[in-house]
């Protein structure tokens, strides 16, 4: 009936919606008919909205999950493999339909892996050479010792990766290595006035109702037998036996009420390429973040303990989040106090985790990839991400640790490459 009333077929209406959402201009007549078609029948309105939802979903789905695919396509372009539009019969989905080219699927995976490896080697080599030549870099290089824990396929890749790893350094670092004596001599409470680390503009400011603390021995200082942290300090071992054990202190948020610790970055120490007129977070750049964390236990249900990177208007939150009800390690964007686009992992927050995040600054929303406990001997593969989300446009001015549930954090690093943010002995 509606098709008669509005003089528009469903297929034409949906094609016009497609055209509109693909950026084409509708004529006055087309727009009027489409409006009428939508307004005169609720079924039509439902169909129209479902079509718009499909566009929105496809955009999100392809943007978020296709970085590897995009690179594979780029490779295909270079190999001059042109895309030919699929024929109408090829578009149909039915039981007899065969997925074409399984060989190309596997080939694409291999290409993606090789592509990432090549880029990785390129990045680490560039970093290494830059540091060596620009900063008059000198390192005692003990190959036997250096290679001992590394299990890496290519000798060259192993060498360049390791050399870059030795040479790399984050431009922002906080290891919470404050001695008990240093803490005892301090007049202020909590972590107020602590100024350790690299790349900061000033001291920590402990501004919550509860106070933070620096813990040196978790076996002695814990909240009872159910405290998951009493077995030892934060540490991590990857599948190849690369060990990360932290020494010195680690940050602990208070229990019972909210702890908020804030520290501002020295923007002069942020690499120039990462900044533009609006601040730190220039579009087109990539940033890596890592830190270790462990909560009292796995409890969720509105409990939170997270690191917040950004400013008061928008930021990226990583940790135990109120919007991730199960209480597992999670990440979300924040806009004016509201968590959006929450992505929750399968890793329990009572388990110590090394969290590595990569932010791709883009016009508008940023793309964030996170790996939990990744192998340390290679740049993690985008196919292996644990969490992926879009975060609001970020301008990082400060790091804030916010918690209403006792949680430990340590070894916070921010750099321009993966090797910059892998915890290394030099810093602890």
């Amino acid at each position: 009936m509606s098709e008669i009333k509005t003089d528009l077929k469903k297929s034409t209406a949906l094609e016009n919606i497609d055209a509109y959402l693909d950026g084409e201009e509708l004529s006055e007549e087309e727009a009027r008919k489409l409006e009428q078609w939508i307004k005169t029948d609720s079924d039509n309105a439902d169909q129209a909205f479902r079509r718009v939802f499909l566009h929105s979903y496809l955009r999100e789905r392809f943007q978020v999950r296709s970085i590897g695919e995009a690179q594979a396509r780029e490779r295909e372009k270079q190999l001059n493999v042109p895309l030919i539009l699929p024929a109408e019969s090829e578009i149909e989905i039915n039981s007899a339909a065969k997925k074409t080219a399984p060989v190309s699927e596997s080939r694409r995976r291999i290409l993606t892996w090789r592509w990432f490896l090549l880029i990785g080697i390129g990045i680490v080599s560039t970093i290494n050479l830059s540091v060596m030549f620009i900063k008059d870099f000198q390192l005692p290089y003990d190959e036997e010792k250096a290679f001992e824990p590394i299990n890496f396929d290519s000798h060259y890749a192993k060498k360049t990766f390791l050399m870059a790893r030795i040479a790399a350094q984050p431009f922002l670092y906080e290891g919470f290595n404050y001695s008990e004596r240093q803490l005892g001599e301090k007049a202020s409470e909590g972590i107020n006035d602590l100024t350790g680390g690299v790349g900061w503009a000033g001291p920590w400011v402990d501004q919550g109702r509860n106070r933070s603390a620096i813990i040196h021995d978790t076996k002695k200082v814990n909240l009872g037998k159910n405290d998951m942290r009493l077995f030892g300090q934060l540490g991590f071992s990857d599948q190849y036996g690369n060990m990360l054990l932290t020494k010195g202190g680690q940050y602990r948020s208070g229990a019972g009420s909210e702890t908020v610790a804030v520290r501002y970055l020295d923007l002069q120490q942020v690499p120039k390429s990462l900044s533009d007129t609006k601040g730190f977070g220039a579009d087109g750049e990539i940033l890596w973040i890592s830190f270790m964390a462990q909560s009292y236990d796995n409890a969720g249900g509105g409990r939170y303990a997270y690191l917040d990177f950004g400013n008061e208007e928008s930021s990226l939150r990583i940790g135990k989040l109120a919007s991730a009800d199960r209480g597992n390690w999670a990440a979300a964007g924040q806009v004016n106090g509201t968590e959006i686009n929450t992505a929750s992992s399968e890793v329990l927050s009572g388990q110590a985790a090394l969290i590595v995040a990569r932010i791709l600054f883009r016009p508008g929303a940023e793309e964030v990839d996170l790996w939990l406990n990744p192998p340390l001997n290679r740049i993690p593969d985008l196919d292996d991400v644990n969490l992926r989300l879009m975060a609001p446009d970020l301008r990082i001015e400060r790091v804030k640790i916010v918690s209403n549930y006792s949680t430990d954090f340590d070894e916070l690093r921010i750099g321009v490459s993966f090797v910059d943010v892998i915890p290394a002995e030099d810093y602890d």
Binding site: R50, T338, G364
Partner: protein, 187 residues
């Protein structure tokens, strides 16, 4: 105000934030689609959605939590969309203008259904041929318009437009068949 009152207010505020976060996660995909309908440039839509999120956070105290959250959030979205177009030269015909309320009603009606259909969409996407997926990739990953895709592939814009439309229709049909348990794909 004494310390007890202050503590009560802070607890209320924390509870309110947590509730808002939970509500937002549920409605965000539908709101994004609604915003996309009004601002087909995806980058504009993402910016606008951020503004909607901010406005909702600011005005959350006004929300009556005995009523559904989505219609209230859509009302805020409509205000922000109107603001968006007031601040810009309106240089294109918007079918959305007059149909906005009808689409908002549709959004409320089919929201739950579409959330459930997302898994089916994944399945159906997987059933597409490699060439169809690559074409979608050019449109949504590389953000190319049909004209640009046509130029790149050396074909006509009309062919690209029709092919994209057919792929979308195929996906929708597949989802509906799977949802109805009628499809025999992959069996």
């Amino acid at each position: 105000m004494d310390a007890t009152q202050t503590r009560t207010l802070q607890t209320e505020s924390a509870r309110s934030r947590a509730e808002l976060a939970r509500n937002w996660v549920k409605v965000q995909p539908s709101l994004m689609a609604f915003v996309v309908a009004s601002t087909p440039q995806f980058s504009d839509a993402e910016d606008l959605l951020q503004e909607v999120a901010a406005e909702i956070a600011i005005r959350y105290d006004e929300y009556d939590n005995t009523r559904p959250f989505l219609p209230w959030a859509l009302w805020i979205a409509k205000i922000k969309i109107a603001d968006f177009y007031r601040g810009k030269r309106r240089d294109r015909v918007l079918f959305m203008g007059e149909a906005m309320d009808a689409l908002a009603d549709a959004c409320s009606r089919v929201q739950q259904l579409m959330t459930e259909e997302r898994d089916l969409l994944e399945y159906c996407l997987d059933q597409l041929t490699e060439r169809s997926r690559r074409l979608l990739g050019l449109r949504y990953t590389d953000d190319l318009k049909p004209k640009q895709i046509a130029d790149e592939l050396g074909t006509s814009m009309g062919s690209v437009r029709v092919t994209l439309s057919r792929i979308r229709t195929t996906l929708m049909d597949c989802v509906q068949k799977r949802a109805a348990g009628e499809a025999n794909v992959g069996n």
